[in-house]
């Protein structure tokens, strides 16, 4: 777990993958010494590990990178074999973001998802729930676009301090 906490989300580097809530399970098990044809691993710790993660958005390109980083981090820590599997069910939701994660997001300048999750309502032009500006905390803000620089964010602007900002949208 400690090792996984060192792995950042490549898109939102202030969050690690534990903060994000995408690590669903970690299974560590002892392994007998396995012969390798190519490299003699002297630094193995005799443990194998299976990590199960769930993607945030189905097309999120960060998922492949996160998988590769988990592989590398755990392999270089001596685990063998390292298996990273993905599961789709139950589906990830922003409610799984840790309390700590919400604070980190806000400090980074990204408004965290509203605590009462309001996933996209189908009614056209429905007024959005108030999102507080991460700079000046004003709730006098408006949405510029429901789609932002990454799949998980929407673009907002603050009508008081005039700064545009990202909102980590409820999902």
């Amino acid at each position: 777990m400690k090792l996984l906490e060192g792995i950042p989300d490549p898109e939102v580097p202030v969050l690690n993958i534990i903060d994000l809530g995408i690590v669903r399970d970690v299974r560590v098990y002892p392994t007998p010494e396995v012969e390798s044809n190519f490299v003699f691993h002297t630094d193995r710790n005799g443990l194998g590990v299976t990590v199960i993660i769930t993607p945030t958005y189905v097309g999120c390109p960060a998922v492949d990178m996160i998988k590769a980083t988990i592989q590398m981090t755990l392999t270089s820590a001596g685990y063998y074999p390292v298996e990273v599997r993905t599961t789709l069910f139950p589906a990830w939701t922003t409610e799984w973001l840790s309390e700590e994660a919400r604070g980190k997001l806000e400090a980074f300048g990204i408004a965290p998802p509203n605590p009462v999750s309001s996933v996209c309502h189908l009614e056209p032009f429905q007024r959005e729930e108030a999102v507080s500006c991460p700079r000046c905390r004003s709730c006098h803000t408006e949405m510029i676009s429901p789609f932002g620089s990454t799949a998980c964010k929407a673009m907002y602007r603050c009508l008081d301090c005039q700064e545009p900002f990202d909102y980590f949208k409820c999902h």
Partner: protein
């Protein structure tokens, strides 16, 4: 894997891959930065869905992968709806195509969430929330354009004339849909039409657009008989894998 299930997975995946590819053609050309970003985000979601369906379809054969399914099939082996392969045209065509498809897909996934096939249920459940964003965004643009200026209204009417004919196919089951074991597709396609039409009527009435009386008479995509446009999409999408087989980076 049952042949009918395999083909149904291709149908689900091909729809989202081809529409995702079409939308991605707007990358760098959107009328405003936010719209460019919105369409590429939608593409990303759609192509992500295609990957999951293809991974599942490929999961039981050693020689197949999501990549061979996407890059090494020819037009007649694609099962996507004719609507999604239609060219981008102007903004009105792109928006209307997205709206007609998303309003269908939203109902489709809503039912597939209850599928007796756990993988289809999980993929649909996961994608359902994303599709809600696509549907709302495209609905708002249909209203904005239809209820906008004379010019934008006229463009929506032209788009409607060009695209409406492809919508009947949504509800015309292909042989593989009829052969699916019961429960995989909890609500058969023909029964979804009424729900879809409710949304169409609601948004078109807000947009001041007429709901065409003519049936959507064009079909064939679901069984591999495509319009000439698909070949050009594939030529661009598959070129690299065809010219340099197996290459990757």
């Amino acid at each position: 894997m049952l042949p009918s299930l395999y083909e149904y997975l291709l149908y689900l995946g091909d729809n989202t891959l081809i529409l995702g590819h079409r939308n991605s053609e707007w990358c760098g050309h959107g009328p405003a930065l936010e719209l460019d970003i919105a369409l590429t985000n939608i593409s990303l979601d759609l192509i992500g869905q295609a990957r999951l369906y293809y991974q599942y379809a490929a999961s039981e054969t050693a020689w197949q992968s999501e990549d061979t399914i996407a890059y090494l099939r020819d037009a007649h082996q694609f099962r996507n709806l004719l609507l999604v392969e239609q060219p981008n045209g102007d903004w009105a065509h792109t928006i209307l195509r997205q709206f007609l498809f998303s309003s269908f897909q939203h109902h489709l996934y809503n039912y597939l969430r209850e599928s007796s096939d756990p993988t289809i249920a999980a993929i649909s459940n996961k994608s359902y929330k994303e599709v809600a964003y696509h549907l709302r965004w495209s609905s708002e643009w249909v209203i904005r354009m239809g209820d906008g200026t004379q010019e934008s209204h006229q463009r929506m009417l032209t788009a409607l004339e060009d695209l409406w004919m492809f919508t009947g196919e949504f509800f015309l089951p292909a042989p593989y849909e009829d052969q699916l074991p019961t429960g995989i597709q909890p609500l058969p396609a023909p029964l979804m039409q009424g729900f879809w039409m409710d949304r169409i009527k609601e948004v078109f009435s807000a947009a001041g657009l007429p709901v065409p009386a003519s049936p959507g008479f064009q079909s064939g995509g679901k069984t591999g008989r495509h319009t000439e446009y698909l070949g050009y999409v594939l030529a661009e999408m598959q070129f690299l894998q065809r010219a340099y087989p197996g290459s990757n980076w």
